[in-house]
């Protein structure tokens, strides 16, 4: 091989490395900006989530998950914008702010086992992966579930187990769960999921369309197994402020 050719190939490799490194930097800085935006927005929610911010652990996890790898390549430049993005099959990857809130409401702990209904892109499972011991995620649309499974495996989220199935029945083989997150559209809260929730556990259900989360339903099962639900707006908005 001619030295000039070798030099050319080496230059190409170096250039590719440089571009790749620049992209990594670009995404890392975008991710950091996204985290700062979420922190700023969430700090105003003190009244609603009974604390002054989203927990540091949740924010750290979101700061490490490469969101851009969970969406179609042509949309990667928009990956860290604070908005939902289409991922095909009529599904979306949720708005980062909403992901942060939902994850925080689950109060994830390192020894927790979490069930997710609606794997979607796999991003929510990836965020949970760094926060809990095990994540079990169910997707009803097979193509979507298979893609998410592949991405999660490639990125090394080994504590996430996925399956293609109907999420309504939960995953009885691995019950009980410390928390459950339901991102699929439902007309009522599925009783099997409530049964698979540990006493003292929490379930979160976002309600709305694919591009608009109108509210979050927080289902709490107390230590005696009694259930209460709470409707939480993702933002401070009091529709009625009169003195009645």
């Amino acid at each position: 091989m001619k030295p000039s050719l070798i030099l050319f190939l080496l230059s190409c490799l170096l250039a590719a490395e440089t571009i790749s490194a620049q992209q990594v930097d670009k995404y890392a800085s975008q991710r950091q900006m996204m985290i700062e935006e979420i922190a700023s927005d969430a700090s105003r929610l003190v009244k609603y989530i009974d604390k002054d911010s989203v927990s540091d652990r949740v924010m750290q996890s979101m700061a490490t998950v490469p969101r851009h790898l969970f969406i179609p390549p042509e949309m990667r430049d928009e990956a860290y914008e604070n908005r939902p993005l289409p991922i095909g099959y009529g599904q979306t990857i949720s708005q980062p702010y909403i992901v942060a809130l939902m994850t925080d409401l689950l109060q994830p702990q390192p020894d927790h086992k979490v069930l997710e209904i609606g794997t979607g892109s796999g991003y929510q499972a990836a965020v949970l992966s760094g926060l809990v011991k095990e994540v079990y995620s169910i997707e009803i649309i097979d193509k979507l579930g298979l893609t998410a499974k592949r991405v999660l495996k490639q990125l090394g989220y080994d504590n996430v187990s996925t399956r293609i199935a109907d999420g309504y029945d939960g995953w009885p083989e691995h019950a009980q769960f410390d928390s459950i997150i339901v991102t699929a559209g439902i007309s009522h809260i599925p009783p099997p999921l409530v049964k698979q929730l540990k006493n003292g556990g929490t379930m979160v259900i976002p309600v709305g369309t694919r591009f608009q989360t109108q509210q979050l339903t927080l289902v709490k099962k107390d230590l005696n197994g009694a259930i209460t639900t709470k409707q939480i707006l993702p933002v401070i908005f009091v529709p009625f402020t009169g003195g009645h």
């Binding site: 702010y97 639900t229 009625f240």
Partner: protein
């Protein structure tokens, strides 16, 4: 031969006008199916500006175009037929996502391209008609009359066609009609190489008829419920039925149950049986339960909507208003209702449970107790003399989780003050009216219902309406009970027991205590209870004013129940848009306003632009130009204001929105066309004095009749609604006939006068009127939301008066 010696190509104009109006109605259906109704309204409103664009273009190029009139007419007619199909296919290829429009700026570019594409067919039609008027300028009223009559026939024809053929097939028919009108023009004008061109057009017709079905297959938004369900393994599309008001799809999911049970209690001992999903226009899913035995339907007893049967055991007579796919029927039969009258205006839904899937639904087991009535709830309520123990309204399809406010622009007469009063009058003593809605966060629709019910009870002579009302809510539904009489202690106990045993929250009872609300489904504020207490108090107005959504009671004059948008809340919601505020904005009203802004900008450009091209020595003085603008804008606005107000009034009278649209459009356009023909006949000489006199008479007549109707409608509505169907349709036509006959005159009279004074500006005036018509359709809804339909009609009178003052002939 000079143009005055020739007969205008009336048959071609007739067919073309019919096809154009049919296309307009068809596009609303097509876009309602592939996207959502309010976007359909926006896209098509803007596309109609093709009429304005045509006027501008002809103003500039009319000399050249008129010299080749025959060829140009044929070209435009054929291009309408072709573009009607090709442009729709092109729009379907655009990856436009209506739901993403608030997030993604590239959606706006796609929307803009959609506008441009859909403007084309209307541009070609308008060219053909305007050039014909310019060519036969001594018979403008004749051409216009035929145009209107053709459009009237097109309005009725499209509704009939859509009853029997799917929308994509009807699109081919519209395309062929465009080509046909071109062939008719060739035949009549003996232009072009008649044989060669006719052969080519015949070939084109064959291509349209036999074009691959895939080209025209409707590609629904992937975010619509139907598309999402079909992605699930094991689902099977069983049936599609299409008519002029909806497309119904039935889907089976054998491997994975659908499990639709709005707000089912967590304490239900069993889940749902197998179900079939039913979608209307690809969304708003409802389900048909497989009724094997009573056991399989136990879950129905754990919905909030079943409450009335726990207060009033074993009712003799039950009325279900909006029985859709039969859930409320099952609840009534499970609770031993002796007889059920089921009211459902959409026969295709009734047919699903009584014929197509009768065995699945168990129709034979319950049919002996049920009578169906194919009429609107208001129509039935007005015509029946029966009395009921329980009246139930069906839970609407879909959920409040749908895009906020997408139904904001749809009128509904089923939950107005007048409607609730009527339902109350059908109750036996101690009978119950039960209404279940989906809840939304923040609450609005349910609060509006409560406010409306309070007013209806007061109008019904109840001084303390709170004593007759109960309100409970589940996770995502709320059920309001209104009793014909005060709720007893025993009633209150039953409601409490029912709610507690299902973990539902009580939001209102006559003896409610503050500590018993907001126990199971916690809200950040117990807003339902707070609202009930406030709306029943003397301070209800303060509460309504201070609430951040529009929750004032709804009347027949302003029946936009689903529009809860309030201007004062917008800055706050926009300020928090990145944190979820967008989802709390009811998008219907802002979409309408945004459409108006776009239309105004486009209209101003289209109106002003041609003046730059008119030669200085041909340009009339400022006052004449101003008069032309004011006159044609005024009659363009006023005509549609009245027409749209009539569609609403007739929706109530005729009990079927479909009949209302068909009768109104047909009657208005045909009688207006006859009015225009009458004007042509009277104009033996188009002297200014003659036109002036005729115009005076027609405007006086329009204003007088409209004024009478504004005050008479509320008084005659109930009388007409109680008549037989044939009598109601006849009455509606008789009401529309004299007014629309007079309304057919001002436009051709004004155009004739313009032609006489400033012939080069006649196409310009046509374009101005086209632009005004587009603005009118949007403004009429905005005005109706703000001041009601009577206000819209009074505004129309004002514009007719303004037109009279600025009539071109007087200059």
């Amino acid at each position: 031969m000079s143009p005055s010696d020739q007969t205008p190509p009336l048959s071609a104009i007739f067919v073309l006008s019919a096809a154009a109006l049919a296309y307009e109605v068809l596009l609303v259906r097509l876009f309602s199916i592939i996207h959502w109704h309010h976007f359909a309204f926006m896209v098509i409103s803007i596309a109609l500006l093709g009429y304005g664009a045509s006027g501008s273009m002809i103003t500039v190029f009319q000399r050249g175009l008129l010299q080749r009139y025959g060829s140009v007419l044929v070209f435009n007619a054929v291009m309408f037929g072709l573009s009607a199909i090709v442009c729709f296919i092109a729009v379907q290829q655009l990856p436009f996502n209506a739901l993403e429009i608030l997030w993604d700026t590239s959606q706006w570019q796609r929307l803009f391209i959609s506008y441009l594409l859909l403007t084309l067919p209307f541009f070609f039609v308008a060219n053909a008609i305007a050039l014909t008027m310019a060519r036969y300028s001594d018979r403008i009223a004749l051409v216009y009359g035929v145009d209107l009559i053709g459009a009237g026939i097109g309005a009725i024809a499209i509704l009939v066609l859509l009853q029997f053929y799917p929308p994509d097939a009807v699109l081919r028919i519209v395309g062929v009609l465009g080509i046909m009108s071109g062939m008719l023009a060739i035949k009549q004008l003996a232009c072009l190489g008649r044989l060669l061109v006719s052969t080519l057009l015949a070939l084109l017709t064959v291509i349209i008829i036999f074009a691959p079905a895939d080209w025209l297959t409707l590609r629904l938004s992937e975010y619509k419920g139907l598309e999402q369900v079909l992605l699930i393994n094991g689902t099977r599309h069983l049936q599609r039925h299409s008519n002029s008001i909806s497309q119904i799809d039935v889907v089976e999911s054998k491997a994975i149950p659908l499990r639709n049970a709005p707000g089912m209690s967590l304490l239900s001992p069993s889940g749902t049986p197998d179900q079939l999903a039913v979608f209307r226009d690809g969304d708003e899913m409802t389900t048909i339960d497989q009724h094997k035995d009573t056991e399989s339907l136990v879950y129905q007893d754990y919905m909030s909507s079943v409450l009335p049967y726990h207060i009033h055991h074993a009712p003799q007579k039950v009325l279900i208003l909006g029985s859709t796919t039969g859930n409320e029927l099952l609840q009534a039969t499970l609770h031993n209702a002796a007889h059920i009258d089921a009211v459902e205006p959409d026969t295709s839904l009734t047919k699903l449970i009584t014929e197509d899937y009768a065995e699945y639904f168990g129709w034979d087991r319950i049919s002996d107790r049920i009578s169906f009535h194919n009429i609107s709830p208001r129509g039935y309520a007005a015509s029946t003399e029966e009395k009921y123990d329980i009246i139930v309204t069906g839970v609407p399809g879909g959920s409040s989780g749908g895009a906020a406010g997408v139904h904001a622009l749809a009128t509904s007469y089923n939950f107005t003050i007048e409607a609730l009063e009527k339902y109350l009058s059908l109750l036996e003593p101690d009978g119950l009216l039960s209404i279940t809605f989906w809840t939304s966060t923040p609450a609005r629709g349910n609060l509006r219902l409560f406010a409306t019910a309070v007013e209806a009870l007061r109008n019904h002579g109840i001084d303390l309406p709170g004593n007759n009302m109960a309100w409970i809510r589940s996770w995502n539904t709320a059920t309001l009970i209104i009793k014909n009489g005060a709720l007893s202690e025993d009633d209150n106990k039953r409601i409490r027991d029912f709610s507690t045993s299902r973990a539902f929250d009580v939001a209102w009872l006559p003896d409610i205590k503050e500590d018993e609300v907001n126990r199971f489904q916690l809200l950040q504020q117990p807003i339902y209870y707070m609202a009930a207490r406030s709306l029943l108090s003397p301070a209800s107005k303060d509460f309504i004013d201070s609430y951040k959504y529009h929750i004032k009671s709804v009347s027949d004059n302003n029946p936009y129940f689903n529009n809860s948008f309030k201007w004062s809340s917008l800055p706050e919601l926009l300020g928090i848009s990145g944190r979820g505020g967008i989802a709390m904005i009811d998008v219907g009203y802002p979409t309408l306003l945004f459409t108006l802004v776009q239309a105004v900008i486009a209209a101003v450009v289209l109106i002003l632009l041609p003046l730059a091209f008119v030669r200085r020595n041909e340009k009339p003085g400022l006052s004449r130009r101003r008069n032309i603008v004011i006159y044609f804008v005024s009659i363009g606005l006023a005509f549609l204001f009245i027409e749209l107000a009539f569609i609403q009034k007739f929706t109530l009278i005729l009990s079927q929105p479909l009949y209302a649209v068909a009768v109104t459009l047909c009657a208005f356009l045909i009688f207006s066309g006859l009015g225009s023909l009458y004007a042509q006949k009277k104009m033996s000489t188009s002297s200014p004095e003659h036109i002036h006199r005729l115009l005076n008479r027609s405007v006086t007549l329009i204003c007088t009749i409209t004024l009478i109707y504004v005050f008479a409608f509320p008084h005659i509505t109930d009388t007409i609604m109680a008549m037989s169907e044939a009598a109601r349709i006849t009455a509606a036509i008789l009401l529309a006939a004299p007014l629309s006959f007079a309304m057919g005159m001002p436009f051709p009279l004004g155009l004739t006068a313009t032609r006489r004074n400033d012939p080069q500006l006649m196409p310009w005036a046509w374009g101005i009127n086209g632009c005004a018509s587009v603005l009118s359709a949007i403004l009429a809804i905005l005005l109706a939301i703000e001041i009601g339909f009577s206000g819209v009609m009074l505004t129309a009178i004002f514009f007719y008066a303004l037109a009279w003052v600025s009539q071109p002939v007087s200059s």
